[in-house]
C-alpha cells in the first residue's frame, strides 16, 4: 500500500501557461516596432497626390511638417470647406507660417537648424494659390528646402 497513491479521478491536467509571457512579449515587440507615432492629429483631408520620382525623407528630426487641405467633415461647420493650413494641432492662416517655422527651428538642436526640410503635406484638391502663399512665407524666413510629400504611384492616379 503506497502512501503516494495516484489520484485516478477525471481531472484534466492544467494547460501549461509558461509560454504566455513569450506570446505577450512578441505582440508587444511587434506593435512597438510597427507603430508610427503620429504627433499631430489631422484636421484636414489629406489625400496626397501620387508621384514616382521621389526621394525619401529619412531623418524625422530634421523635418518640419505643414499640412493643408479642406477641413475634415467634423470641422466644416466651424471652419468652412475652403482649404486651410494646419500647423501642429491648430488651423492657421498664411501669416502664421513664418512664426511657426522659426519656433520649430529654434526647438531643434543647433547643428540641425541649417539642414531642416519643410515637408508640405497638401491635399491633392487644394489650389496652388495657397501653396504659393506658403512658399512665399517660407522664403521670407529662409526655409528654402522643401519637400512636396506625395504617395508612391504613377501620375495617372492624380485624376
Amino acid at each position: 500500500m503506497s502512501k503516494f497513491k495516484k489520484k485516478k479521478d477525471g481531472d484534466l491536467p492544467a494547460i501549461s501557461t509558461a509560454s504566455l509571457p513569450d506570446i505577450v512579449f512578441m505582440l508587444l515587440f511587434f506593435f512597438m516596432v510597427a507603430t508610427v507615432m503620429r504627433d499631430n492629429t489631422l484636421m484636414v483631408t489629406n489625400t496626397l497626390p501620387a508621384a514616382d520620382q521621389i526621394k525619401k525623407l529619412d531623418k524625422k528630426d530634421r523635418v518640419i511638417y505643414i499640412y493643408a487641405g479642406k477641413p475634415s467633415a467634423r470641422y466644416q461647420d466651424k471652419y468652412g470647406d475652403q482649404p486651410r493650413i494646419q500647423l501642429n494641432d491648430k488651423f492657421a492662416v498664411v501669416g502664421d507660417v513664418g512664426a511657426y517655422i522659426l519656433s520649430e527651428r529654434a526647438s531643434k538642436r543647433e547643428e540641425l537648424q541649417n539642414v531642416l526640410t519643410t515637408a508640405l503635406k497638401v491635399d491633392g484638391e487644394t489650389n496652388m494659390g495657397l501653396i504659393s502663399d506658403i512658399k512665399q512665407e517660407l522664403r521670407k524666413v529662409n526655409a528654402l528646402k522643401i519637400n512636396y510629400t506625395t504617395r508612391i504611384g504613377d501620375y495617372t492616379q492624380n485624376k
Partner: protein, 206 residues
C-alpha cells in the same frame, strides 16, 4: 472513467513565438514619408539678373483649368516628359557651348546645352495641386531619364542607374566607403544635367 491525457509539451512554444517575432520584424517596414525635393529661391532679388536667351528657357504653364501649355502650345501630360528630354538634351550650342554628350537633334532654336537649359514652371493660383505635382514629377523624370542614360554609359561596371545609385547614396544603411565612391560619380552627373527648374510665382487670375 476519463483517461488522463498526456500533458502538452510547451517547451517549443517560445521558439514558435520568436519565429513569429522575427518574421514580423523582418517584414514590417516603418512608414517613411517621401516626396519631391525642391529648393526655393532666396528672397533677395538679384540686382542684375543674368540675361537668358529665349531658346534656353522651356516654359511650362499650368493654367487655371489645369491645361498644360508647353512653349505656349497645349500638350498632354503624357508628352511632357519627352518634350522636356528633347529640350534638355538638344545640345544646339556651337564652339564653347557645344555639348559633346547630348544626343538630341541639335536644333538651333532649342537649348544650347543642359547647363544653360532652364525649365520654368508657372502655375495659376487656381491650378490644382495634384496636377502641379504631376507636372513636377514628369519634369524631374526627364532629368532622371537623362542622368540614368549617362550614368549607365559612363559607369557600366556599377550595374545600376543614376536613380538607384542616388537612392543607395542617401540610404543610411549604406557604408561610408560605398558612399564615398558614389559621391564623385553622382556629382559628375549632376554637373552634366543640372536640375535647373524654376518655380515662378503664380500669375494672378484676371
Amino acid at each position: 472513467m476519463a483517461r488522463k491525457s498526456p500533458e502538452v509539451n510547451a517547451g517549443s512554444m517560445a521558439d514558435i513565438a520568436f519565429l513569429l517575432l522575427i518574421f514580423f520584424l523582418v517584414t514590417t517596414t516603418i512608414e517613411t514619408d517621401s516626396g519631391i525635393n525642391r529648393k526655393l529661391p532666396p528672397m533677395e532679388e538679384l540686382i542684375d539678373p543674368p540675361i537668358i536667351k529665349e531658346r534656353n528657357i522651356f516654359t511650362v504653364v499650368v493654367n487655371k483649368n489645369n491645361d498644360i501649355l508647353v512653349e505656349e502650345k497645349p500638350m498632354q501630360l503624357s508628352d511632357v516628359r519627352q518634350a522636356a528630354v528633347d529640350f534638355l538634351d538638344n545640345g544646339g550650342g556651337v564652339g564653347e557651348e557645344a555639348c559633346d554628350y547630348c544626343k538630341g537633334s541639335k536644333d538651333p532654336s532649342s537649348s544650347d546645352n543642359p547647363d544653360k537649359a532652364i525649365i520654368s514652371l508657372k502655375n495659376d493660383r487656381e491650378t490644382d495641386y495634384k496636377v502641379y505635382i504631376s507636372v513636377q514629377n514628369e519634369l524631374v523624370a526627364a532629368y532622371n531619364q537623362l542622368r540614368d542614360r549617362e550614368f549607365t554609359s559612363l559607369y557600366p561596371d556599377q550595374r545600376m542607374t543614376y536613380v538607384e545609385a542616388d537612392k543607395m547614396y542617401t540610404d543610411p544603411r549604406t557604408s561610408i566607403k560605398v558612399k564615398a565612391s558614389l559621391k564623385p560619380k553622382l556629382d559628375v552627373l549632376k554637373k552634366m544635367y543640372p536640375q535647373k527648374l524654376s518655380e515662378a510665382e503664380p500669375s494672378k487670375t484676371n
